[in-house]
């Protein structure tokens, strides 16, 4: 059976953690098909962290070192991936900003079908059948794919798991390419922020906060929880309180964290669609009839200005106890 190609992501010469999820997802599919996994790593030079890929199930690690490919460059990456995908059963990317830009380009170069943001994949005879949320998660679609299937896997849907394989590193010689677009720089914010789509914990605020300054309550809780991203409802993004990159819901991001805390968010259908796949949902709202409580595992009815600071304190205490 043809191989699986897992396309890795690096930033500043270090492999991104989401890549472990992609290798794990590729390994699971490869085991079902009885085939091998190649992890493709593209960078300007050696990329830190590739020695871990064998542990997550990569049989081979194909490296491309090209001076023009330190930053993500769509045309160079797509050219390398399409060449490495020759004869593969599937090409798997992460459904990140980079992966979602790259995957359709690879598919077009291969003349293949592309299923975006999949949350599962099974095998049906000669075909792969991918499951993917559509209508912002209000429904799940199953698509049967013929030939090489290009897939992007939604972050946080496949927990990285150890499955030791050789992880033999081989240099991959990519074809020449013409860059049609150039990524000239990545502007990082003054303070590094976790992205809601990738974080294991998301704390989101809504209109119940009343004033944009009150988002400090959300930030404090997120800081206490650790490794948590700050999200926002559409209402407060549209009001200009928070950047669109933080918006959770149908016209924002769809998230699947381990823990989602909704503060002062009533739970409009578009918002619920964006976070209902979170593993555990906590809602804090003063209105006991708010729709958010219908999807929440745990709810507290009350004034968020009293509940949230207390929660931040209790989380800190719990963390201190270990």
């Amino acid at each position: 059976m043809a191989r699986i190609l897992a396309v890795m992501e690096q930033r500043d010469g270090t492999l991104r953690k989401v890549s472990h999820e992609i290798v794990t997802a590729a390994r699971l599919l490869a085991d079902t098909l009885g085939t091998t996994v190649d992890a493709l790593v593209i960078g300007a030079g050696p990329v830190a962290g590739i020695d871990a890929l064998g542990g997550f199930g990569a049989d081979r690690v194909l490296t491309v070192e090209h001076e023009g490919l330190g930053l993500y460059q769509p045309d160079g990456y797509a050219t390398a991936a399409a060449a490495a995908a020759d004869g593969c059963a599937a090409v798997m990317c992460a459904a990140t900003a980079t992966g979602k830009d790259l995957a359709p380009r690879i598919a077009a170069k291969l003349g293949a079908a592309y299923a975006a943001e999949i949350t599962g994949c099974t095998v049906d005879g000669e075909h792969l059948v991918a499951t993917r949320p559509v209508y912002a998660g209000k429904a799940l679609q199953r698509v049967r794919m013929t030939g090489t299937a290009v897939l992007s896997v939604r972050p946080n849907t496949v927990p990285p798991a150890q499955s030791a394989k050789a992880g033999a590193v081989e240099a991959f010689v990519m074809p020449t390419f013409t860059p049609r677009v150039t990524v000239t720089e990545v502007k990082a914010p003054a303070v590094a922020v976790l992205d809601v789509a990738e974080a294991a914990i998301v704390v989101s605020g809504g209109r119940g906060l009343k004033e944009p300054e009150h988002f400090s309550l959300i930030e404090d809780l997120a800081a206490a929880l650790g490794d948590a991203a700050v999200g926002a409802s559409r209402a407060v993004v549209d009001a200009g309180w928070r950047d669109h990159s933080a918006q959770v819901g149908q016209t924002g991001k769809t998230v699947s964290p381990n823990l989602y805390v909704a503060v002062g968010i009533s739970g409009a259908i578009q918002h619920l669609a964006g976070m209902r796949t979170a593993k555990t949902i906590v809602a804090i709202n003063k209105d006991a009839d708010a729709p958010i409580f219908k999807v929440a595992d745990y709810g507290i009815v009350g004034d968020l200005f009293e509940v949230v600071p207390r929660l931040t304190d209790e989380v800190k205490k719990a963390k201190a106890e270990g």
Binding site: K100, A108, A116, R132, V181, A197, R276
Partner: protein, 249 residues
């Protein structure tokens, strides 16, 4: 500049989704359809670029059934010059749609081809980039800031924890993200004018692709949760549950 905008008719984001009798599509009865919200950023960008240049032409394309004419008229009412409906059944396979669009747009001399970053029905976010690839054009996706000067494009796109700055030359394909602009609402004058603007209908038959929808279902319902309590006094119990029951702390 000659600018094309590709526009899709989709269910309103507030629509409740009911699975249709075929088990593969939605039940459209009673569902309100609207122009795809991300495509509206593309429509707005095209119109404002044309206004700034005080020259050029804007054309909106849609692929879908006859009812997509209404969606095209909305774009015409906002200010797009003319519309083309590629009338036929759409496809869940983005490559199939991209092939049809690329063959239609090829050789028309567009400087800029704009898409929304994704359609809020099938969430494929692929047709723009695929169309560009098939046409051999530069493509920048999920653009949230755009400057075009002397045939050069400087765009910004959000990535995890930062913003990528991407450049290319025209002609190019761009897909638009929320934040790029504020789409205008059609004014009465525009709505009246739109009725007289040209809307060409061309039948299109899509070639078969490599992806077929075999099922559509509602996500598993979340089991009803519990209200831990009222007010700040409920917090210690919540933390206890998160630690020992949900095991997420």
């Amino acid at each position: 500049m000659k600018i094309a905008v590709c526009l899709k008719r989709v269910p309103d984001t507030t629509a409740k989704i009911v699975i249709g009798g075929d088990g593969k599509s939605i039940d459209e009865s009673g569902v309100k359809f609207v122009p795809n919200p991300y495509d509206e950023y593309a429509v707005e960008e095209a119109i404002s670029l044309q206004e700034k240049a005080a020259a050029g032409e804007t054309v909106v394309y849609s692929l879908g059934g006859a009812s997509s004419q209404e969606t095209i008229r909305t774009a015409l009412a906002m200010g797009i010059d003319r519309g083309v409906l590629l009338e036929g059944a759409g496809s869940a396979d983005g490559m199939v749609v991209a092939r049809a669009l690329a063959s239609e747009l090829e050789g028309q001399g567009f400087d800029l081809i704009l898409f929304g970053k994704l359609a809020v029905d099938d969430y494929n976010h692929q047709v723009g980039a695929m169309t560009a690839e098939l046409m051999g054009l530069p493509c920048i996706t999920t653009v949230s800031h755009l400057e075009i000067e002397n045939g050069g494009v400087v765009a910004e796109r959000e990535i995890e924890g930062g913003v990528e700055v991407v450049t290319c030359r025209l002609p190019a394909v761009l897909t638009c993200e929320k934040g790029l602009n504020e789409p205008r609402l059609p004014k009465l004058k525009g709505i009246m004018a739109a009725k007289k603007k040209p809307l060409e209908v061309k039948p299109v038959e899509l070639a078969p692709g490599n992806m077929e929808v075999v099922g559509l279902e509602l996500p598993p319902a979340r089991s009803e949760g519990k209200i831990v309590g009222e007010g700040p006094d409920a917090v210690p119990e919540l933390v206890n549950l998160l630690r020992h029951e949900a095991k997420v702390l």
